[in-house]
């Protein structure tokens, strides 16, 4: 879920990291290593759009996102209602800056369960930065077809109670090694969230999911589509951006 970072920003980065850290059964670990090789990045920068569908209603949030590795991300919202609102993620901590009040508020504990900007992605989802290899065991469970493409099915099982989800099922493109879909389950077996990659683009020498749809299964008739545009990987980003000073600048 770390890929879902401050909405999407991190989404990209998250994914990469997730893949690179999954270790488990031989087939699965090799597969995940390929995903990592395909999607891991040092830095990412893009313009993002979050389309939150609630029944027949649509709310759109736009933002600029910068991230460095899996533990540093900076998001600035640009849609009118939230313009100037910024988020800083450092490791597992999150601060939000509200421009009108010129106030920086740490988001912690219970508040992390709230949907970010009303979306299907919680702050907790965005903040999750534990390496999956430390939280899950992986196994390759089969093959399937996804949107006409051959794909592997990989199942992750939590080995720590600290893992946000007890079980996760990934569908991975067999040629491009991009995660095409994912389902996240609670310990009770209940499906909590799902993700589907709607668009995969080639960026440089790698394939990347640039449009994904997240669905919080505990909400009624809602989904959040996250779109990454003008995406740049491994560009030079000033580390000073990922500071509280930059948040309030």
């Amino acid at each position: 879920m770390k890929r879902l970072i401050a909405t999407m920003c991190m989404m990209g980065s998250l994914w990469a990291t997730e893949a690179q850290t999954i270790a488990g059964a031989p087939g699965a670990s090799e597969l995940l290593a390929r995903i990592d090789a395909n999607q891991a990045f040092k830095t990412i920068e893009y313009t993002g759009r979050m389309e939150i569908r609630l029944g027949k209603e649509l709310r759109v949030k736009s933002m600029k996102v910068w991230a460095m590795g899996s533990d540093r991300a900076f998001v600035e919202f640009t849609n009118p209602e939230d313009a100037g609102t910024r988020m800083l993620k450092l490791d597992k901590n999150l601060w939000i800056y509200f421009p009108k009040e010129q106030d920086t508020v740490p988001i912690s504990g219970h508040l992390l369960k709230d949907g970010m900007m009303g979306s299907d992605v919680s702050y907790e989802d965005a903040l999750e930065s534990d390496q999956l290899s430390s939280m899950y065991t992986a196994s390759l469970t089969g093959e399937t077809m996804a949107d006409g493409r051959r794909a592997y099915v990989v199942e992750l099982k939590a080995k720590s109670p600290r893992a946000k989800y007890d079980r996760r099922v990934l569908t991975v493109d067999a040629e491009r090694f991009v995660v095409l879909s994912e389902e996240m389950f609670a310990r009770s077996g209940r499906l909590l969230k799902s993700m589907v990659a709607k668009e995969v683009k080639r960026i440089g020498d790698r394939w990347y999911a640039t449009t994904v749809v997240m669905v919080d299964k505990l909400r009624k008739d809602s989904s959040t589509t996250m779109v990454m545009e003008s995406l740049k990987l491994d560009v030079v980003i000033d580390p000073g951006l990922f500071t509280r000073a930059a948040l309030e600048r």
Binding site: P80, E101, R244, A245
Partner: protein, 343 residues
């Protein structure tokens, strides 16, 4: 008056920065248009229709942000057209107008800005340069005409120096702050000297999370001359939630020498809020302000509806058993609605 001139100078500077950047147009114009209608009633001993006062407020809020490499200018102003009520007419206010220059790590800001040092909701002893008051339904810190220098220390800490000069240098306010993040907590140490009041205030604040969010702030004001005694004030608060839909927050304020000009003359005060999501488009809230020592309470219920992209409708109803500043005991009540569209 000096502060007004400073804000005026900043507006000019913003215009210059905007003009300089006109080629690349790195500026953002944003704002909101809103209309409020409200009725209020003040108990003068016997209920009469004439005690009901209806009023409306049509408002336009405009913000301009201009960014150039290493420098940024920002302004936010508001114009209100008031009808009915006790003071109909047109009012204008400038909430912020500053220029921020960032030569390297140093951040220099001059103009009207919110010098926000505290973590508390309504009463923040650590805010030595910002006055917090209820604006509408929520607490809001007012801008201060100040010159501010800030230097980060690591990713989450820093030091600041703030000056609020006056025509007579010795009559200004000058202070500093050290803040950071350690052991899962945001903390700050602050001090300021007020030349007009002839006193120095030392403050500290911390905010942490132990299942529930907790914050505490304390300040002591020491007069320059020993003939007067020091005064102490503190605020402690907590917030927590049930599931992710109901969020509760409460804080208690003790002020050994409360200043009625701040809106609250009582020594022991409480502020509490409860917000409940009501579906994907609505939020219900209940807030309570209480002067415990003087038995004055003011509950307010409100609902915020997300009616369209960037648009909201807020309705509220409130009652108060007295006046927190004057400690008068006349009842009052109000209800109203605001529709707002951001652009």
């Amino acid at each position: 008056m000096r502060g007004t001139k400073l804000a005026g100078l900043c507006l000019c500077a913003i215009a210059l920065v905007a003009a300089a950047g006109a080629q690349e147009s790195p500026y953002v114009l944003s704002g909101a248009v809103s209309f409020s209608g409200a009725g209020s009633w003040l108990d003068d001993g016997a209920f009469q229709a004439a005690d009901l006062v209806w009023a409306s407020d049509s408002a336009v809020e405009l913000g301009l942000d201009v960014k150039r490499p290493g420098i940024r200018a920002s302004a936010l102003g508001r114009v209100d057209v008031l009808t009915g009520g006790t003071t109909p007419g047109l009012t204008a206010s400038l909430e912020r107008a500053y220029v921020r220059w960032t030569p390297g790590q140093l951040v220099a800001t001059a103009g009207r800005q919110v010098v926000n040092w505290g973590n508390a909701l309504l009463w923040s002893p650590a805010d030595l340069f910002a006055q917090t008051s209820m604006v509408g339904l929520a607490p809001e810190r007012a801008g201060t005409d100040a010159i501010r220098l800030a230097m980060p220390i690591g990713a989450l800490g820093g030091i600041e120096a703030v000056a609020v000069p006056t025509a007579r240098l010795a009559g200004g306010r000058y202070g500093g702050r050290l803040y950071g993040y350690a052991l899962g907590s945001d903390f700050g140490l602050e001090a300021a000297w007020d030349g007009a009041a002839g006193a120095t205030t030392i403050a500290a604040n911390i905010k942490t999370n132990l299942v529930v969010g907790l914050w505490a702030e304390a300040a002591v004001t020491i007069p320059d001359y020993s003939a007067e005694s020091s005064s102490f004030r503190t605020t402690v608060g907590a917030d927590w939630s049930f599931g992710s839909d109901l969020v509760l927050a409460a804080e208690y304020r003790y002020d050994q020498r409360p200043d009625a000009s701040g809106g609250f003359a009582g020594a022991h005060c409480l502020y509490a809020t409860a917000t409940q999501k009501a579906g994907d488009f609505a939020m219900l809230a209940l807030s309570l302000i209480a002067d415990i020592g003087n038995a004055i309470v003011a509950p307010t219920v409100s609902a915020v509806l997300d009616i369209a992209q960037d648009a909201s409708l807020t309705t509220w109803a409130g009652w108060s058993s007295g006046n927190f500043a004057t400690l008068g005991t006349l009842d009052s009540a109000s209800l109203g609605a605001t529709m707002s569209l951001a652009f």
